[in-house]
């Protein structure tokens, strides 16, 4: 039993049919529970006041925005190397979810920045690289929708994803070089010293789990839709031939 058995669309559909409802429930529970815990039962920060509650949306969505792109990169590589259609479709399915996460991170960050930094937007390295990531997502999705033949589209978007990843990392460092930032360091790291305080830490972990589960559930559900759409396309072609 290896992971490659899920490259078979029928097997994938059968397994995910059972997995998606469970994952959705878990995601909903974690999100509602974590957000409620953070919103109602944590104290205000002594410097940031109530705005600290935005962290429960900002950090998980920013995390998933980057991880969604990583997942697309891995899926693209699997498609290029092993030619499993499910993998290519999963990459396609992840892009809109990643865009949403990026947008949430940008908007919540801007809303938080206005009282704290005194501005909605600053050309800070982290903010700027997220904006660039957003542009990459848009280009990737535009290329998918522009090409009619599905296999060609999968190939070309995978190549774009690979090249885009290299340039995204390059841009990250270029932007760092270009402007020193306002943004605080990592909220979560193994180095406990610079982490957020424990009161905020545990509800944040629950929220992150909720966002991860939501992402997985959404991507699986969207991949199922893509597989069905592919089958529908094939059936329609056959009808037209007959």
């Amino acid at each position: 039993m290896s992971i490659w058995t899920y490259a078979n669309p029928a097997k994938f559909m059968a397994t995910t049919a059972r997995a998606v409802p469970i994952l959705s429930l878990l995601a909903g529970a974690c999100l509602l529970g974590g957000l409620a815990w953070g919103f109602f039962f944590t104290p205000d920060d002594y410097r940031q006041g109530a705005t600290v509650k935005i962290i429960y949306l900002h950090v998980p969505s920013a995390l998933m925005a980057i991880n969604a792109w990583l997942m697309m990169l891995v899926a693209s590589l699997i498609w290029l190397v092993r030619r499993h259609h499910v993998s290519a479709l999963a990459a396609k399915a992840a892009a809109p979810v990643g865009v949403t996460m990026t947008l949430i991170a940008l908007v919540t960050g801007a809303v938080w920045g206005s009282p704290m930094w005194g501005t909605y937007w600053a050309w800070d390295p982290r903010l700027t690289s997220f904006l660039i990531l957003f542009l990459f997502y848009i280009g990737y999705m535009a290329l998918w929708s522009a090409i009619e033949d599905p296999d060609t589209a999968a190939d070309l978007t995978s190549v774009l994803c690979l090249v885009g990843s290299v340039f995204a990392i390059l841009s990250r460092y270029a932007v760092n070089f270009w402007n020193q930032g306002l943004h605080q360091g990592a909220s979560l790291s193994l180095d406990k010293e610079e982490n957020v305080a424990d009161v905020f830490y545990y509800p944040l972990l629950v929220c992150i789990a909720g966002f991860v589960l939501l992402f997985v559930a959404l991507v699986l559900a969207r991949t199922r839709t893509e597989i069905r759409a592919r089958r529908l396309h094939a059936l329609q072609l056959r009808e037209r031939m007959a």
């Binding site: 660039i132 542009l135 990459f136 848009i138 280009g139 535009a142 290329l143 522009a146 090409i147 060609t152 190939d155 070309l156 190549v159 774009l160 690979l162 090249v163 885009g164 290299v166 340039f167 390059l170 841009s171 460092y173 270029a174 932007v175 070089f177 270009w178």
Partner: protein, 218 residues
Amino acid sequence: MIRILARDLRLAVRAGGGFGLSLAFFLIVVVLVPFAIGPETARLSPIAPGVLWIGALLACLLSLDRVFALDREDGALDLLATAPVPLEGVALAKAAAHWLTTGLPLSLAAPFLAVLLGLPWPGHPWLCVSLLVGTPALSLIGTFGAGLTVGLKRGGLLLSLLVLPLYVPTLIFGADVARRGAEGLDLGAPLSLLGAVTAGCVALLPFATAAALRVNLR
């Protein structure tokens, strides 16, 4: 490869299209800026390096969709794909031809246009150097984008959407070299990073372009 390069150069000069057009576009962009910003030199000269870089970048973009599209239409691209030259070599030659017809003239013209924007003196040679080092990367990235979109009917707009985010690192380092040059600061770090980006593009992007072309010619 040399033959492909020479053929592309001849076509560009003879058809009179790409060669003069992007230069004229560059000139117009630079002329339009003072109308939008105002004619005071004190306001224009600090933004001059950035404006010239943006202008060069857009002028580069203008001629990209012709890199492969014309060859695709008359079937020459299929012949190139079956030629004994590897497709990676074709991609590199195409990028070189694009650079020689747009990047090089743009870089040489930029110092003269910089006079219009009141760029302070030591900036002119450094602006030229930064463009000379940076524009090959723009041509290579653009050729990659053109390879991706060659099969599409209305690829022009999509091409700019795909290519412009990839231009970010080059633009940051290039404009920084030009700015520091104009202010007389030390510019070793951004210049070497700009060179590194270009060298990386030369080494890697022809492979990606060739992969995209192979998919499109299937």
